[in-house]
Symmetry: C2
Subunit: 294 residues, 2 copies
Amino acid sequence: MPLPALVVIGQPSLDFPSASTELRVAKFDDPIVDAMNLGITRGDGVFESVGIYGGRAQAVDAHLNRFAHSASLLELPRPNLEAYRAAVELGIKLLGDVPDAYCKYVLTRGIEGRDSGPTGYAFFDLNPDWTAQRTAGIGVVTLSRGYALDVAQTAPWLLQGAKTLSYAINRSVIREANRRGADDVLFTTTDDFVLEGPTANVLLRFGDHFVTPRTDRGVLHGTAQLGAFAFCESKGLTTEYRAVRTDELTSADSIWLTNSQRLAAPVHTLDGRAVEVDGEFTIEMNDFLLSRRN
Amino acid sequence: MPLPALVVIGQPSLDFPSASTELRVAKFDDPIVDAMNLGITRGDGVFESVGIYGGRAQAVDAHLNRFAHSASLLELPRPNLEAYRAAVELGIKLLGDVPDAYCKYVLTRGIEGRDSGPTGYAFFDLNPDWTAQRTAGIGVVTLSRGYALDVAQTAPWLLQGAKTLSYAINRSVIREANRRGADDVLFTTTDDFVLEGPTANVLLRFGDHFVTPRTDRGVLHGTAQLGAFAFCESKGLTTEYRAVRTDELTSADSIWLTNSQRLAAPVHTLDGRAVEVDGEFTIEMNDFLLSRRN
């Protein structure tokens, strides 16, 4: 099968009966989305990215649960999780025997005002080679997200904590990082707290204690971060979700950004300042993350 | 021609030579966008909405200029403005003899990492009947955008002032307004300044003086707002762009939200408090806006 592989989901929500409930395999560059789809015209939809290693999708349930949560924050039709699960399984067959791949699946609100029902599909491709990022690490800059820490509570209409298709800012900040000679970004709040990256969570190590920002404060609950905490606990290290102040970034022993595709990338430079990379520990953590099963 | 009408733009940017440079007419619900297009997966693109009244597009140049400006803020390939202009002209022919219509045109970054070049198209449909909103007016609630007034200067990576496809929040706030029994929203800053609506600018009247928030502070420069100021000046009234504090909303004589489709909608209620609607003046202003030519 030529890659990327594409699976169109006939019935992406049980709230809207569809003519076809089938999964349909299509070529990745076949046009399948209508021009007036709100997924394009308004970024009005949600998505998930899932790591696929050695022919197995990782943290499938955690991703499906987060997908449903994002959809509920946007008041979208409820995604048909079993259809998405089946699409992932089909996609893995289409990928064939590849070591390191990903799946991205989306749900959009469909065409505005036309009761066409939502649009859903999943695509599958090889991951780029992240070896250097997973070992030598990445350079990161902090950039303000422009919000205070409590924004998810005080202004829930800003959809913090939902993984939406409106990710133009998440792309823009990477361009800003590149201009500053860095690879990735760590968002901060206007009241000097640490949030997350545009496509990753952040882990800080203080001795034998690992910390990540509270996930009820405008931060997505990452499946790789969950896995990293499980790894730490398996090593007898302690873990904690709490508010993290920006000045703690300078006192942390080591820092990682984690996500489902790149997994744990150690930060070697933060805002131009060197950060210690614990190479052996990171390899062990990534081996653990790669070995996860659903 | 059955509506909506759809025009696919063969060469949306001259920075990327395309196989076809033609405009192609398609059915509105023909799938024309690939599943991995960044316009969907990341809301990574820009758009404009243009009013079409009596067979003429309004403020064509102002919209094209703003489109190019938005694209530059996102570092997109430069839109081929003459192709977009031609698409609008073709769309008006396809619309035929209709009194009140709109065009929306978009430019997306195309497929990630595949050098496919950007995607561009325009679609055209009748406007809903906005008579009630243009005369009796609309109920509006203020909602925080979560940012301070100076965010466009201090954090340009947040893309304030660009009309992007990442509009999930702009849709979410309308749902919040509806929950509060209102029709539309006026965004405010965390430091108590007035910004704009999710799809409109705001005008405040103080006696013979009209005020709108400064457009260099996270506010789109609206073509209908420009037209409304031209109308005011033609009547000998004065106009001003400046920072507007939220407490001025209670001292304004009248308030309007303006955009290219609904034109000037008087606000009859703001956060549950009645606001005076000057019906005759509003009719005159909308007649002026409807009579605009490029």
